[in-house]
């Protein structure tokens, strides 16, 4: 899978890595049990500090997307990703809330909002069927 990191973006590099790996899993470009590069190797390929990659990996591990073995290295969680729990829904609502508020301020209609959600959802999901 190709990661595309913008070194000068406002978005921190560790979140860029995190979100792209999660999207890779959603698109099934990364399958359960797939290897990811080691912290050292990914950091030097991108040309950034080890700690940045480590932070992304630690967060991904906490949320159950990857496993970090001492010997075997980093792999996408072999059992697949856990289904959404009540806690996840709560987090989701909390994250979307400010975005909806912003959209209402800028008079984005409910329909438009739904269309945007649907297109992005399809964009990510259609890749899965190919």
């Amino acid at each position: 899978m190709l990661l595309e990191i913008d070194l000068q973006a406002e978005e921190p590099i560790y979140t860029q890595i995190m979100y792209q790996i999660i999207e890779g899993i959603a698109k099934e470009e990364l399958k359960p049990g797939d290897d990811l590069p080691s912290v050292r190797s990914l950091a030097s390929d991108i040309g950034i500090n080890f700690h940045t990659v480590n932070k992304a990996y630690q967060l991904l591990k906490q949320e159950g997307y990857i496993l970090i073995h001492r010997q075997k290295g980093v792999v996408i969680h072999p059992d697949g990703i856990e289904k959404a729990t009540e806690a996840f829904y709560a987090k989701l609502r909390k994250k979307i809330r400010p975005l909806i508020a912003e959209s209402i301020c800028r008079s984005v209609s409910k329909e438009e909002w739904e269309i945007i959600c649907a297109t992005i959802y399809d964009e990510i999901e259609t890749k899965e069927e190919q």
């Binding site: 595309e4 990191i5 290897d35 190797s41 990914l42 390929d45 991108i46 950034i48």
Partner: protein, 367 residues
């Protein structure tokens, strides 16, 4: 004979330098990142042509001048001095020509590409890159290792047959200019050099597998495939080169023991040099830096144009990589074919100091 050898050598040095702008990555112009699209600009293409011409003219003049000096000079020392200075002068002049075009490329970029490269610094990495087969298996190096064992074994078995004085240095007419008394230390000189060489070629192979991936933003998938092929091809060539050199040293060592006709050694030496330098030029032209000249079936023009990477500040003069943020030790060269080090990493310095130290120590101990 030595004049022909000299001209051939100068030809190799000059050609290797003159063609460099054509074999580096397509998106680069004299160590400056401009992107594949801009690289086709007539102004930049003209610079490449001018660099080639300048190098050929300067190289030709120095060669002719040095060849005349060589013909009139009589002493062995003077000839050696002329030879080494001619090569040094050509390299320094070529560097000066390079700096001129490097600066011109920077100025061109500033004038023409400012908008595109203003705030973008996108890096593409493939998460599976280092899991692919980038270099040949280290098991292949058992072949040159076996040659070293044969050399050592035969030296030990036939120690008595080795003459009491062994040659240490030759001139161009294959006459011995320096000899050393036979003992186990001097006899082991060649095998030690073979071992150092083997270590060096193993190190280069390791460097190829470890150096950071470089993926062009314009056409990431094809560029990644090229990068993988590039490493694999050079890894093969590295083994061939190492094995040939070690075999050459083996034959030289065995010539102390058995009567090997001089002509055989001379032919082998020339053959090895032709294969190595001819192969190098061939690979530079056919494969290019990072595989940039390889033709791939899936090659399609990039449909999405991403902003080019702007990391010129990390490349001092376009040739020396110095980036404190980057943990990578080995990186691909910007101007030229092959790999270089991240000068901001002490580990990179240490590995080079260690290599030079080992060679110096071997020379001191065994001669």
């Amino acid at each position: 004979m030595e004049i022909l050898f000299f001209i051939a050598m100068m030809l190799v040095v000059v050609v290797l330098q003159a063609i460099t702008p054509y074999v580096i990555r397509r998106g680069e112009s004299f160590g400056v990142m401009v992107g594949e699209k801009a690289a086709n600009d007539p102004a930049l293409r003209k610079m490449k042509r001018q660099f080639l011409n300048w190098n050929l003219i300067v190289g030709g003049l120095v060669t002719v001048f040095a060849a005349i000096l060589l013909l009139v000079s009589t002493s062995e020392n003077a000839q050696a001095t002329i030879l080494i200075s001619a090569i040094l002068i050509v390299i320094i002049l070529s560097l000066l020509i390079y700096v001129r075009f490097y600066k011109a490329s920077l100025a061109w970029k500033k004038a023409n590409l400012q908008v595109a490269s203003d705030k973008a610094n996108i890096v593409m990495v493939d998460t599976t890159f280092h899991r692919q087969k980038l270099t040949i298996s280290y098991a292949w190096y058992l072949i040159p290792l076996a040659l070293i064992f044969i050399t050592i074994g035969l030296t030990v078995i036939y120690y008595d047959q080795i003459p009491s004085m062994i040659p240490m240095q030759y001139n161009f007419d294959n006459e011995v200019t320096r000899e050393a008394a036979k003992n186990y230390r001097t006899v082991m000189m060649m095998p030690m050099m073979q071992i150092v060489m083997l270590g060096l070629f193993l190190f280069i192979n390791y460097m190829m597998s470890r150096s950071k991936q470089v993926i062009d933003n314009d056409n990431p998938t094809a560029s990644m495939r090229r990068n993988v092929l590039f490493r694999y091809i050079y890894s093969k060539f590295n083994l061939i080169m190492g094995t040939l050199l070690i075999a050459l040293f083996m034959v030289i060592q065995l010539s102390f023991i058995f009567s090997i006709p001089q002509i055989f050694i001379t032919v082998m030496l020339i053959l090895v040099l032709v294969i190595i330098f001819g192969g190098l030029i061939f690979l530079m032209v056919r494969v290019g830096q990072g595989g940039s000249r390889l033709k791939l079936e899936e090659d399609t023009q990039a449909d999405t144009t991403k902003p080019i990477r702007d990391d010129d500040a990390n490349w001092k003069l376009g040739v020396f990589y110095f980036n404190r943020q980057d943990p990578a030790v080995f990186v691909e060269k910007r101007f030229g074919v092959g790999w270089t080090i991240n000068m901001a990493r002490p580990a990179a310095w240490l590995s080079f100091v260690a290599i030079i130290a080992v060679i110096v120590i071997i020379i001191i101990i065994f001669s």
